[in-house]
Structure formats: C-alpha cells, structure tokens
Symmetry: C2
Subunit: 663 residues, 2 copies
C-alpha cells in the first residue's frame, strides 16, 4: 500500500534509502548526516488532496529521500536523492568544498573525547594545576565563518572546569581561556586558540587556575523552597483530541498532520479548521544566534540551530509530569544515526491540552447574567538542547481559530572567562570571573498558507491606521481610518507600530459572506531588533532572514530554509535573499510568508545559572475568515464541570519559608 505523500519517513524507508546509498559507494564507510523525506512535489500533493476529497483513485506521489553524508574521516561531502517508489538513486552530487554537513552529537562527543586526549591539550590543562577534585570539560562548538579557512570543516572547543564528583556540576560557571580547534576531516586538534580575559584583544598564556565558587543548578546542591504546594491537572474523561497511526490529529474542529524530521523537528502539514484549509505547511525554518564579542575566536561565534545542528537531532526525551501537566500523549521522532540506521528520538513530541484562562466573557449589567467560556488550548511541543541552551518550542491552537507559535528560551548562558573586576560592554558579568556575552536569538518561521482553499492563491497585505485631517468631514478631529495595502513584490518588510501595521495573509477570491471582505489570517509578531552585526560581516551575510520581520516569496521547491540549505560554516547566499530577489508574482499566487522574531539577549545576572523562561509568541488569528467568533459555541464554564474549590482567606496558610535570603 502506498503511503500518504505527507507521511513522515518510516524506519524501513530509511533502511531502504541507506541500503541503496551504500551500494553506490561500496568502497567507502559512510557517515550519514541526514536521511530525510524530500519535500514532495506540491502540485502532486494537491492532486492527491483533490482525489481524497472527491473519492477518486489516489494518484501515486513518489516517495523521495534526501541524504547527506561523508566518506568517513574525509572532507568528501555527498548528497543523494533516492526515489523509494522506484527503489532507485535519482541523483547524487559531490558537494563543493564550500558546503559542510551539520554537526551531530555523536560527532560532538567524539570531538570532545579526542580533544581531552590530545597531548597539547593535556599539556595545557597541566598548566592549570587544578586541585584533585576538579577536572576539565571540553565543549565542542560549531566553528562559524570568518573567510579564513571556511572550507575546512572544524570545531571550536571551549574548555571549562568541572567537579569530578558531580557530573552535572555547572561547568559554565568556570570557563577557561584556551580553546582547541579540531579539524573533522582528520579528527585531530590542529591548534589551541588563546582567549582574551580582559576587555581588550590581548590574550595570555595559560596560568594556574584561580579558584572561583561554583554556581550550581542541580537541586541537591541547593536549598530548595519548601512552601510550594502541589498543583495537578486532572482530565477525568480523557483528552479532547485524537491522533491516528499516521499522526493526523483532530481537536476542536482543527485537524492537521504532525510531522517530524531531523532538521526542523516538529512541523505541521495540512492544517485545517472545520474542514477549511488554513496552512499547507508550518515550520520553524531557521534560528541564528550571533554573539556580540568582537574578539577572536568569538568573532566566529554564531550558531544556526537548525541548519548547523538540527532541531530533531537535539530533541529532548520528554518526561511524564515534568514537561507538561495533565493527560499527555508522547510521540517519538525518527532520525538517522551516523551509520545510516533509523534512530528513534523517544518522546520527542508531547501533545496535551491546557487551560489558558478565560476565552471570552460578557456580563449583562441589566440582568447580571454572565456568560463565560474558558480558553482551552492544544499544545504540540518539543524541547531542544543546543549544548548550553534550551528552547521550548510549541504550536498552540485554540478554539477561536487561532494558532500561536511559542518559544521559551531557557537553559544556560554561553560564558567566557573575564578577569575579576573587569567588565565589557558586549556582555554582563554573571558570576565571579564569568562574562555572558550579548547575543541575539533570531528565529524564522516558514508559513506556507492555504487560507480557505488549496485551489486559489493567497496574497500578503497589511493594514495601517491613519488620522483623518481635521476638516469639514472630521470637524472634531477624532476620526481615523484603516487602510489595506497589498504587497505586490517579494522581499523583506518591517513592522511599524506607529501606523499599527498588521500583516495579513488573504484569499481575495473567497469573500466573507457577511461583510464581503477577503478571508484572512493576521500575523501578530513582536518587534525585534534585526541582526546587529555589520552589513559587511559574515554574521550578517549568513543570517539572510535576520534583517526583516517579514519576508514574502513565491513558493519554490526545496526552499524551506531561509538561511540556506547548508549553514555550517556558510558564507551567505542560497537563502531567502536569493529567492526574494526573483521578480516573481506574489499576488494571488502560491506564496510563502516568513516571519522573523526573537530577542537581543543582554544577559542579566538573573539569567544564571539557568535562565527563567523568556517567552516569545507569534500569533495567527482569523480576520473575516469566519462570520462570527468561532469559539462562541464553546460550552459555558461551569463549576459542575470544573470543580474548583473555594478557599476562604482564613484557610490560606503556608509553612514558614524554609530558605535563606541570599543577597
């Protein structure tokens, strides 16, 4: 039986692809970076949808796999497309030396191990004269680009002091000032970089380590508060959603296909409300984290967390009762091991419902009757660990036809050594001898819309509000109007709060039955400071998407990643700026809308040792898509159902605060 064209790759498909590729290179051991579903041709998928809808025979949509791999211990990087339907190689390509495969954590572990065994590194560590209970931790970072040796695939290995007796001691509180560089073709340390520890470019030889206090986050090292009472979520009748064996999810009139791959992690396809299409595909396209420290080797410090690393590869195994409350469904993700075997990322996706306060309310002051409904949400979540940092990423749907994409930034700041008493304007001292450098988190969401239909094109428009002139028509000067402008060419666009500029994806061919306006979804995106790096820098050139809140392009096959398909040590090009430069028609056509947001993270000391979540949200809300509030039919909020408990003030009590004041 043929698979649905949008179904995730299965384990047997990964095996089939790996086997065909191994046959292609019988003389070489391969190190796989990716075996993933090639995006199926959109026109064929739409044919498939039509056939499904009409009950006609389903057309065959070829299952094609994209694979990227190295010949082991070489720099030979190869990509191959395998047609699984035909059981045949479609095409294979030896990649130019300017392209590199992504980091993976098997490789990271190997790099860290070899670094600590390298004689030059051992000699350097000896100079620290560490006390017996301490050890050195190596942490391999993506190398970044600076135009010098970008063709050599390398790791920058940052070094820290750890406690031998506690493998989970927070070594980020004790950074060292030397950094080995590892070449991955030869898998060996090629040099040691010395890192400035003041606020100038001057670096020093490694000296005996001066003791600094630990700054731990594991509970056994802390005096934990004792006055927090349990709070549980109970769903006695189970969940309001259903998920079938192909991960097609139905919940409160929404249906969608929950997909997962090594690079994007969770992404959604065929997102519909009450049978009406909203999005063909929604995904996180890229995230870049450029750092502010201008000194070597930090001038190269810039991560592309999807392209360099892979949101699926670093997905956390989510734990029952820790990462969400209530009734939770976990789905596994499937990625590929370096040897080309299917690798299960256990519990990589969690799905649950949550209550988000009141959904709508009105009290008639004449009758004092209140009508109130709660705002039930469905959360599809994954959590990434990118070395020190964590991202909690969630698609959140509600009953009012809205989707939010929520990012919670947490985890540990990336740290550098700084001399006691020094400070630097590109960072914050967060612990004795520790500088946390300023950095940006700049995310790019890819929205492939299908507002109301798969059969018609969409357009991007924005509404703005303008004060009317004070004249005979507006004699008292209170008047203002809204005005909608259609975006008629591809490119980057910015927010403008002073005009209340609101971007909307519209279907001009389908009009609202009541007010005859185009059915639309608006985009509520928080403002960001675009990428700070100089326009002539590699940081800027590589992060092609990071200068505008919105990009608009015409749909193109294999145009999923706004920072380019190969970001590791990239030098720019091949990303969204290329596609936006085409003179495509983007009005009432097959368009893609890219939504950029993020934060310029000037660290606070409160962000250490682990930072409290910083929450960012992008909203997609219907505008004249329905003929009334779609959540008007949500059942009223009632005590009989909710079974809340009234606690009179006199019955509130807490035990004495068991912790000490620390400042």
């Amino acid at each position: 039986m043929a698979f649905h064209p949008l179904r995730d790759l299965t384990a047997s498909e990964i095996k089939q692809a790996a086997s065909l590729i191994r046959q292609l290179h019988r003389d070489h051991e391969l190190v796989f970076k990716a075996i993933t579903l090639e995006e199926p041709q959109k026109d064929l998928v739409l044919d498939y949808f039509r056939a499904e809808k009409n009950g006609t025979p389903l057309p065959a949509v070829p299952r094609v796999v994209f694979a990227a791999y190295y010949f082991k211990d070489t720099d030979r990087f190869i990509t191959t497309h395998v047609n699984l339907t035909d059981n045949a190689i479609e095409r294979t390509e030896r990649m130019s030396p300017k392209f590199h495969g992504n980091v993976d954590f098997h490789e990271v572990e190997a790099v860290e191990e070899l670094t600590l065994k390298d004689p030059t590194v051992i000699a350097e560590i000896a100079k620290l004269k560490l006390p017996d209970h301490l050890c050195v931790i190596a942490e391999a970072w993506i190398f970044g680009s600076d135009g010098v040796v970008d063709h050599d695939r390398q790791y920058q290995v940052y070094m820290f002091v750890g406690e031998k007796s506690n493998l989970d001691s927070n070594h980020y509180a004790r950074p060292l000032a030397f950094s080995p560089v590892v070449d991955t073709a030869r898998m060996r340390v090629t040099r040691i970089d010395y890192i400035p520890t003041g606020n100038t470019h001057t670096a020093h030889e490694t000296k005996p380590w001066e003791y600094t206090k630990p700054n731990e986050y594991v509970p056994e090292a802390l005096n934990i508060r004792k006055d927090l009472k349990p709070l549980r979520v109970l769903q006695p009748e189970g969940t309001s959603y259903s998920i079938d064996s192909e991960n097609v999810l139905q919940w409160q009139k929404w249906h969608m296909r929950v997909c997962f791959n090594y690079r994007e992690g969770v992404h959604l396809r065929d997102v519909c409300y009450d049978g009406r299409p909203v999005f063909y595909r929604v995904s996180l396209s890229e995230m870049t984290v450029p750092y502010a420290d201008p000194r070597s080797p930090y001038h190269r410090k810039q991560a592309f967390d999807l392209g360099d690393i892979g949101a699926g590869l670093v997905a956390n195994n989510l734990a029952l009762g820790c990462d969400c409350l209530g009734s939770i469904t976990y789905l596994d993700g499937l990625v590929t091991s370096p040897s080309g075997e299917p690798l299960v990322k256990k519990n990589a996706i969690c799905i649950h419902e949550q209550d988000n306060g009141i959904g709508w309310k009105h009290t008639n002051y004449r009758t004092e009757r209140s009508c109130v409904v709660r705002n039930r949400e469905l959360v599809i979540q994954q959590i990434l660990t990118v070395s020190n940092y964590e991202y909690i990423l969630a698609y959140i749907f509600n009953q009012a036809g809205e989707m939010h994409y929520e990012v919670r930034a947490t985890g540990i700041l990336s740290t550098a050594a700084i001399d006691s008493g020094d400070s630097a304007p590109w960072g914050t001292v967060v612990h004795d001898g520790v500088l946390a450098q300023h950095h940006q988190h700049l995310l790019s969401l890819r929205i492939d819309p299908a507002i109301g239909s798969y059969e018609t094109g969409n357009r991007l428009a924005y509404s703005e509000c303008y004060t009317l002139p004070m004249d005979d028509f507006n004699p008292h000067g209170n008047g203002y109007i809204s005005k909608t402008t259609v975006v008629d060419k591809p490119g980057g666009l910015d927010l403008d709060a002073s005009k209340n500029r609101v971007f909307m994806i519209q279907n001009d061919q389908i009009r609202n039955a009541v007010n005859h306006l185009p059915i639309s979804y608006k985009i509520q995106v928080p403002p960001m400071q675009g990428i700070m790096a100089h326009k002539d820098s590699f940081h800027f050139k590589r992060a092609e998407f990071a200068d505008h809140s919105i990009y608009l392009t015409k749909y193109g096959h294999d145009e999923l990643f706004s920072g380019g398909k190969y970001t590791n040590q990239s030098r720019g090009g091949g990303g969204i700026k290329t596609w936006a430069a085409r003179h495509d028609n983007v009005v009432d056509n097959d368009i893609v809308v890219w939504v950029q947001f993020g934060m310029n993270h000037v660290p606070r000391i409160e962000d250490f040792p682990v930072m409290p979540v910083e929450i960012m949200k992008v909203g997609f809300k219907p505008v004249n898509f329905f003929t009334k509030n779609p959540s008007i039919d949500v059942p009223p909020s009632r005590q009989e159902v909710n079974q809340s408990k009234m606690v009179p003030p006199s019955e509130t009590s807490i035990c004495c605060n068991g912790t000490d004041s620390k400042l």
Copy 2:
C-alpha cells in the same frame, strides 16, 4: 486601635465620613459619587514602615477620606476631605462647573428608565413599528466632550432592539439610528440626536425597522460543541499563599497588600520580594477608549473607564469555577452607594495560583540528566464590565521575581447602525446592518517604585544596543555593545525596537554584590500606536497619557490619575502633562513611572457577538536585582507530585463533532 495607614477604608469609616458630610449639608439630599481613602502622606507612611521594621512605637498616620457628591437633582458638585482620626471635616470645595462626577450604574439605570418613559422617545420608538416580540433597549453612555456644552453633565443614550422573551438577547446586533440626550441635573431627555447610517454625515428620520437576524451569545441560543472534555485543577494540599485579615498576601517570597477602591479597583501596596521592597504602589491609573467615527454624535465617543466610571464600581461578582480553576480565594471590595452607605462588591477580587508551563530547564547532553521546574504563578484578578465591554485585569507574580500586568479585552463591540451594503473606513461590518467602529484601548499603569529600598531614590534609565564600527577593534564586524542612558528630566518617552530600547527602574545607590551594577527592574511593554485623534482634538487633549509608552514624573501627592482626577466631560489639563512639565529632579529621587500600552482595535467579524480575549501583557523583571536566578531554588518538577497521565495515541478519541459548519 489605629489602622495600618495603607489599609483599605472600612465600612464603619465610610459611615463615619458620610455622617460628617451629611451634617455639613443638613438641608440637602446628597448623591455620593465616591467616599474613598485619600492617599496617605507618603513621608508619614515611610516613617510608619521604619517604626514597624525597628520595633519602635508606630506613629499615627491620619486616616483621611476623599468624598465627591452632588446635591440631588442639581449640578452642584462638591468634594470634601474628612479627617477620620480627628472626626472632622478637613476642607470642602464647591467644584467649578467644568468638573463633573463620574457615572455610576445606579444613575445609568435611572437614565435608561427615564429615557424609555420619555414621550418624545416613545413617539420615536413608535415610528419603528416593531413586531410584538421585540422591544427597545436604552443604553446610557458617557457623553464625552466637544467644547459645546461640556459644562452640562449629560448622557448620550444609544438605542437598540431587543427580544422581549430573552432579556439576555444581544441587542448590540440591532443598533438603532436615534439617540436621546439626558441632562443629569434635571434628569430628563433634552433632545434626540439622529445618527447617520451610511458613510456620510447625513442622518435620516426614524423609519419602520427592517428586520435583521439576531446574533446571540447565550448558550441556549447556540449549538454548543459537544467534544470538549473536562479539565480540572486540583490542589490537594491547599494553596501556597496566605492572606491575613488586612489582605496582606504572602506567596513564594513575595508579600504585598491587596487593596481595592471604587476607582482603581485592585491595586497593590508595599510589594516586596524576600523582604526587599520592589514597589511602593502599583495601580491601573486610567484607560481611555476613543472611537474613530468622525460623525456626530460619535465625535464625542470616548470613555475613560476609571475616571468616568470606576473600575471598582463595575467589578464583576466572580463565580467559583467559571472565572478561574483550582483553589480560589475571593475577596470582597468595598465601595459607596449613592446614598453614602458602604456597598459590598461581592467576590470582586479572585486570587489563585496557576501553572504557566516550564519555568526553567536544562538538560546536560553528556549525562542526559534534565533539571526542570514549573512556572507557578499567583494571579490577583478582577473583571470589569463597562456596558458592552469586559476587561479581565490581573497582576501576575512568579517565582523568578517577575510581575506581569495582564489585560484581556473581551465582551461585546460597541456598535452602530449601517445601511445594508455600505461600508466605512472607520469601522468593520460585523453583522447585517451593524458597524463596529475602530477604537483604541489605551491603558496607563502607575508604578511608584521602591527598587530595593524605601530609603533611597530611584532613577529611570534605558539600555540600547549599538553595532560597533567595523575597524581594528571589530575587524570581522560582529561586535555590538549595550549602552545605558539615564533619563534626567520628567516627560514622555517612546520605545524603539530598532535600538532594543529597554526601560529600567534603577536604584543606583544599591549595587549588585557580584557585578556591581545598579539593582534594577526592567519594563517589558508591548508597542502601541499612540492616540490617533488629532492633536487639536478634545480626544487627544483629554487623554493626556496616551501619546507615549512611558512617562516619568517626580512623585506628587494626589497625582494618581494620568488623565486627570475628573475625567467625565473633561477638556484636558490636570493630568500627567501638567506634572511632567515641572522641572523636577527625577534622578535618584522619589519618582513615578507611568507605563502606557493598549491596542488599536480594528474589529474583525470574529470579535462579534462576543470577542475572543485579546491578551496584552506588561512585564516587570529583575535586572541585576538578585545575584542569580531567584527561581533556582524552586523544587524540581516531578511526576510523583504532578501525577500526570500518559495517554498513548491509540487511546485518544473524541466523539463526533456535534456542531455544523456555519460558513
């Protein structure tokens, strides 16, 4: 025994004040608009705090009441200060005709009743030739200002069609095009305004009503969804907070005094974390809702929801299990009836804890050990019904030392009649024959800070980020720095996302023990489009606060309301622009920071008949106030405590969707 100076007014104090005032005006019947606690003198309160801290005898702080009232059926508006401690009138003032007392719902009911009994209105209604099952609903609106007859206190009464058989039918879906005006000194209809129903200034005589469909929100009129399963919050060991008999609340190292009055509703005093002061007083100062329709009588349509109406007076009676989940404590509010009696607003305040997802997380990729805590929040909430509209207002605290002020805008759009087929650029057609005019919700928060101490002054500063020039120091162009600027004069200030401008309230005299930076709280405020009305309009002049996201003033006694103390039919002046114009020293002094935010509401049809909550949040977060993440000591999130339930995909199921597609 003397009251704590910050304790809310008690019922007996209200009675005492009313009694003294009645003695002052033996020959008149009085209609009270307010009897409320006069803000106690701050220097005396700080003396009181010092005595409390040092265990020395507590100084007497006079309890003073402010009262505002009319001689019944006149325009004589009087304000009086009563010293309860001395049981004596302090001062009394016959107010100038330019000042008016607020609306109250006793008066609104009377106005609506007399309107419907007025012969000219009855004659007008007769022209509608309504079917027997329909009736006319009168809705009294604050009159607004236009420079014509602002000295006469009036109501603009909007008229709607309702269903006789359903007192909760949504009459806002059937607006009429005539509007009686009521003079409150004489309590009678003085004229009927005719409202244009096209998109010009032309109004027509009242004609027989043309039938339009209802658009209801009450559940019995709707086909309610059947597939939503219950979700309950269980707190088996009770709450983590305690509230004493004076409404002093303790929760997770926070303590504060929860206060309530007729105008501001819930406000907070003496907000401290772990014994360290953060805010002396936090309150919603004002909210204005100006409308965009330039035509008469809508040119006057502008509400000041606190000054014109009173957030305490219109507080909802919150219902167990409907307005929040879990274990909930309700507090009553106390206001004054028109006759001067204490009036209990039952369950005006609800307090509960909620889970807001993950608080922080880190997974060590070497050991795969995750440390994760949940983000428990404390919510202090009230809900206002301002005629058609609802505001859900909440102070939300968390364990990371953060406070958020959350506003959920919901309720019913204010509507106007529009001819079928017409549209207007100052509104959206949300139902047949119904225009919802664009409007703004512009809120002003008053923050009286005490960052780290009551003994030292505070300053307002902002940090910005700048790209470094590409030069020898920054050869690769990735460098950027943050820079902090102290605001050295009072006035209005704006956001600038392009510079990542972040406002912070700082205590420069108390430095962080680790990095020696001033202890601070930053303000995360979403951007807003400032008030749209023309600078020469009354809308603009009255909404003194509505043009800048931030205002800074030196503390002044009786300077609580940024739009002025008397906003009803005000003409501007007496608000924040006056205070900001003083050449006060605002650096390391007793300052007040005013935070403005809101939305320009261009209605969607989805906002009708009741709009899904639009959520706005202002955050106050510690910056170098602590020496580490203050929530690092929160107990780990554990299944043993949380008792979540795993639901395999195969066990998820929903009943068939019982509702029909409506479009």
